[in-house]
């Protein structure tokens, strides 16, 4: 921990970075995001199993401009990111939202986080994404901390859920999702918390013409959730923040997970894993699956 603080302090003091986005502890099993610009405040920085937030969501063009422009000079922005958060950063770089050269990634060898604040960190309370995580060491970073530790064992309930849904007949499935989507109160917390929902104006806010009905009724709820899932298909890096944010407990990341499985299945692609691989949306292969087409 001291190393992290020392490093952040050095970065800020040397003037290399304008700010450090990180976590601070608020109670025993709870952290909060913090943006630090004063070297003196770096002592608040922590990294542990309760650093749940995906801080990549703060990497927006406007915020970077606001934080990093210092007297005609553009400084770097440092961010503490779990290996899985780095995937989001990679995706953002690939979608031209940030520039790799202006981001200083401080990452950690990670052995998982708790599913939510207040839970003990153990196999029973492991966050869903950590169960199948394959990147305990970040794929891209500028500074790496932390020791390699074993991840607690847990069973993959999400995949079992997907299998269960897939085994239902279509009409039941439709009713199931209709019911789930119907809980939506259109608070758009899922959108706000998603690092990849960076659009200045969301499709659902476009009213001339009206793309998605925003009134709170089944049809509009359905359309919004389907299009949200589709817009993240092949882009979602699986951070699961939408699930945590949703006040109505709609299984958002379940659909995202299913679509990520399809991306892997159909196109052997996993989002946010490599800066060199072209993004799935926006590229094509002449040999893509053609079975669909008569």
């Amino acid at each position: 921990m001291n190393e992290l603080i020392k490093h952040a302090r050095e970065l800020l003091e040397s003037g290399e970075v304008a700010a450090v986005i990180g976590y601070r502890q608020v109670s025993a099993k709870r952290t909060k995001p913090v943006i630090i610009t004063d070297p003196e405040e770096t002592s608040a920085l922590v990294f542990n199993e309760y650093c749940l937030n995906n801080l990549a969501v703060y990497l927006t063009k406007a915020r970077i401009k606001l934080l990093c422009k210092k007297n005609d000079k553009v400084l770097k922005l440092a961010i503490t990111a779990k290996p899985c958060d780095v995937h989001s950063i990679v995706a953002l770089i690939q979608e031209n939202q940030i520039d790799r050269d202006t981001i200083h990634i401080i990452s950690f060898n990670c052995h998982g986080v708790a599913k939510d604040f207040g839970f003990d960190f153990n196999g029973d309370n492991l966050a869903s994404k950590c169960i199948t995580c394959e990147t305990h060491k970040p794929l891209y970073y500028d500074k790496l901390f932390g020791e390699v530790m074993e991840t607690p064992q847990a069973s993959d309930t999400a995949i079992a859920r997907i299998k269960e849904i897939e085994s239902m007949p279509h009409n039941e499935r439709f009713e199931f999702f209709k019911g789930e989507f119907d809980k939506c109160i259109k608070c758009y917390a899922c959108r706000a918390v998603c690092p990849l929902c960076y659009c200045q104006r969301c499709i659902t806010d476009k009213t001339i013409p009206c793309w998605i009905e925003t009134s709170s009724h089944q049809r509009g709820n359905f359309a919004w959730n389907v299009i949200r899932a589709f817009h993240l298909s092949g882009r979602c890096t699986g951070c699961g923040e939408c699930d945590r944010a949703c006040p109505a407990d709609i299984p958002l990341s379940l659909i995202n997970r299913k679509m990520s499985m399809e991306a892997k299945n159909l196109f052997s692609f996993v989002s946010g894993r490599s800066l060199e691989t072209p993004t799935l949306v926006g590229s094509y292969n002449e040999k893509d699956n053609d079975e669909l087409f008569m």
Binding site: I165, E166, M168, H170, N171, E172, R173, F174, E175, F176, F177, K178, I203, W211, I212, E213, S215, H217, Q218, R219, G220, F222, A223, V226, I227, A229, F230, S233, G234, I255, K258, M259, E262, A263, L266, F267, L280, V281, G282, S283, Y284, N285, E286, D288, N289, D290, L292, F293, M294
Partner: protein
Amino acid sequence: MDKQNWEPKIAAFVCNWCTYTGADLAGTSRLKYPANCKLIRVMCSGSIDPVFILKAFERGADGVLVSGCHPNDCHYNAGNFHARRRWDFFHELMDFIGIEKGRLQFSWISASEGKKFADVITKVTEDIKAMGPFTAYKKMNSEFTIDFPEEPFEILKPVFQENSDKETV
């Protein structure tokens, strides 16, 4: 409503260069096919947004067909390749959330495939007839009515026939 006399409503999004022209050829060849399918012409299959399909269902379609040029024959070189990727995804998503694959069908029909166009329309219409009206979606539709073109004359009954008891604007 009498299921025997029920006729499905099908929307087809087709590209201007291949499938629309293929449909023209089906016409000049006087090939016969069911009258349930109405074509919406776009420039390229690459420009069809998934929202179009949701909108079609929202407007009471029982099925949707998307069709464009064969791979490598796109008038715009690669539009259909991007479309194919998009549909590969969207189709899986729709299937997962419970919309049967037959409701949403895809094809490549070239300008010279008038016969294929007629066959595809016939097949899609029959498939959807066999599946019956898309009541699940229509139920959602009925919950909150939307404005759609006026129906001044008797011959065109309201679009949402199944729920004609509900009030429509």
